[in-house]
Symmetry: C2
Subunit: 412 residues, 2 copies
Amino acid sequence: MPKINPTRLLNDLKTLRSFGATGPGVVRLSLSPIDLEARRWLAERMSDAGLDASIDGVGNVFGRSRNAGPALLIGSHTDTQPTGGWLDGALGVMFGIEIARALAECDATKHLAVDVASWIDEEGTFAGFLGSRSFVGDSVDDAIRHARNREGTLLADALRQAGIADAPRVRIDTTRHKAYLEPHIEQGGRLEAGGKSIGVVTTIVGIRELTLRFTGQRNHAGTTPMHIRRDAGAALVAFIARMNDAFASLADADTVWTVGRIDLDPGSFSVVPGRADMSLQFRDANAARLEAMERALATLIDEFNAKAGVRVEIIASEPPEQPVVMDHALQTHLADAAEALAPGQWERMPSGASHDAQVIAHHVPACMLFVPSIGGVSHDFIEDTEETHIVLGCEVAARAAANILHALHRDS
Amino acid sequence: MPKINPTRLLNDLKTLRSFGATGPGVVRLSLSPIDLEARRWLAERMSDAGLDASIDGVGNVFGRSRNAGPALLIGSHTDTQPTGGWLDGALGVMFGIEIARALAECDATKHLAVDVASWIDEEGTFAGFLGSRSFVGDSVDDAIRHARNREGTLLADALRQAGIADAPRVRIDTTRHKAYLEPHIEQGGRLEAGGKSIGVVTTIVGIRELTLRFTGQRNHAGTTPMHIRRDAGAALVAFIARMNDAFASLADADTVWTVGRIDLDPGSFSVVPGRADMSLQFRDANAARLEAMERALATLIDEFNAKAGVRVEIIASEPPEQPVVMDHALQTHLADAAEALAPGQWERMPSGASHDAQVIAHHVPACMLFVPSIGGVSHDFIEDTEETHIVLGCEVAARAAANILHALHRDS
């Protein structure tokens, strides 16, 4: 079995952290000057690892093994949130480079092909999953023409300023790329709470996102008796309580739903709210359950509207994101490697967050491996993972990578 | 009995409306140029009614009868909200002037003394109840030095620009002022809903106003399982449900409570709120019930904090406003007049809104009479009252005024 070099891995991760380091965290927004510096450094690390490295026409850093396929593609992202952590995305990319090096250093595996990618803009500074979408052949030309970052810069202009607008775009080669592995931090507290070191992802959850509006009658809070009020805020609160019951009866332990925002209009002490809006997001690994939750919500809305008083309606909703199941054979390789190196210290779990793997899984068998996040924190400067967990995660991923490639060679 | 002149009353009300008329409503903020014009016109109307009229050092318009006391003081306010109605306040002042005229025109009442006041700034453009507070001898010098309107103008400067800063301030004369009557629009929908024409106010309700803060843990809405969340918004919703039950078990039909504002932090779809604030106001005519509600709230807060998870605390509260009971003998005079002129068409009721009467009631026996608000609307351009209700209200007030003054003469 190939052996990773923990010191080399951690040093490279820490060097990557230095691009945009801000306190314990990192600010490295897609296509910012510091992100472009990091991408050039990353391409060098890939070249040093023996890969043919390039930055493509949307900003993906891609390192192609000189070995013939079948190839395992290992990737994630190195762009960050506006207040990002040092490992969110970066971990998976550096694991990929370290695994490519480790396999190359081992006689039993040096013939195997590991390609490594850092997908641009997973975090959506301009357009979420831009890099992985471009890689699988989704059209990103509209995004390039119209997407802007918070400063108002057009993506097309940012690519031109970066000097890469005319570079070729790396595309998936399904005759070569037979499996995709994305190692990542968990971004939640489940592994830590369960005392586990490794998560083998079963599914990337589906997401529904909508805004509900309650319309009643604005009134004087002193002179309007309770029984004649049409209080939109009180209706919203009552609705959430009913919705919690309805969702809880459908949920399993991994189902989540969140009211992240509430606005009462006009929003003053002395006025009964005439209008109330709330955001609602729910996520689940099971497409049927998401649909059942949608139906339960629709039923609840109908029940509310059948009564006089406050009217409720869905005023906005995002296109549904369907759950994406990880490839079962690849899950088994990860599970076997985890059991070999950390017996009893791993578990299967859904990913509650979105990842590039959900884009790529529609084209190539894909899998994900999680390492624990301290305190379950992510998208925050203080996001962190124990070094022992980082090293163990890379060892498990390297072992699984070797086994996946051996299996691919057997099958081909 | 004195007879009011409905045409004269309505014409005067409509003329007053023309100062600051905006669509069907009125914008006549305290000490604005149009408010000062209206005050000068009002002083003329008082003079024409045979009163010695002046604008005092804070802007009160005061018309003093030349008859000896005991005097009935009739007043309200002629300043408006930023989007005010034409009758809120104005009605009571014009009733006062019409009643002074009607009593002077009747041989049986022409010896009786009715003084009439328009108290400045009831609506708090600079400092709420400024005029009535000054009249009863509360110190308003701090307010004059420090209070500003929305444009940032100091009250002291506004009084100087109005040319009244050095005018004497009218003060209560308890040897003369033996009763206070404030006619007013209801500003709620209770009379209309009950098919009544007149309200006799029993009490001006007390008010508690506070802000509650819920502090949990901000988290990723996808990766944080429900059972380990410390969702401040969900706790707020659960708290309101419990509070509604607790308050409902203490309430009578007139008790009101309002959550007018909710803020979840950070307020986004994908983040479990770490902090949630809500405004809470409750009003009741019964001081003991307000205290019981405060205790119920404190108990609920303790119960929430006894559980782990989200912490709740009161982070701000206004000084309590205690309920103010209207004088029973004066209520009886109003009730008798209402029953004589509108048998069965009146009711006793609390005032859910605040009024100058609550300031003056601490110094002189006070009472209030309500006429219905169409649709219960106030503090809005479309606020209105049927002309028949305006006229009836003035007739009832005039009859009660004569009887109150006759009784005062008998007692003196």
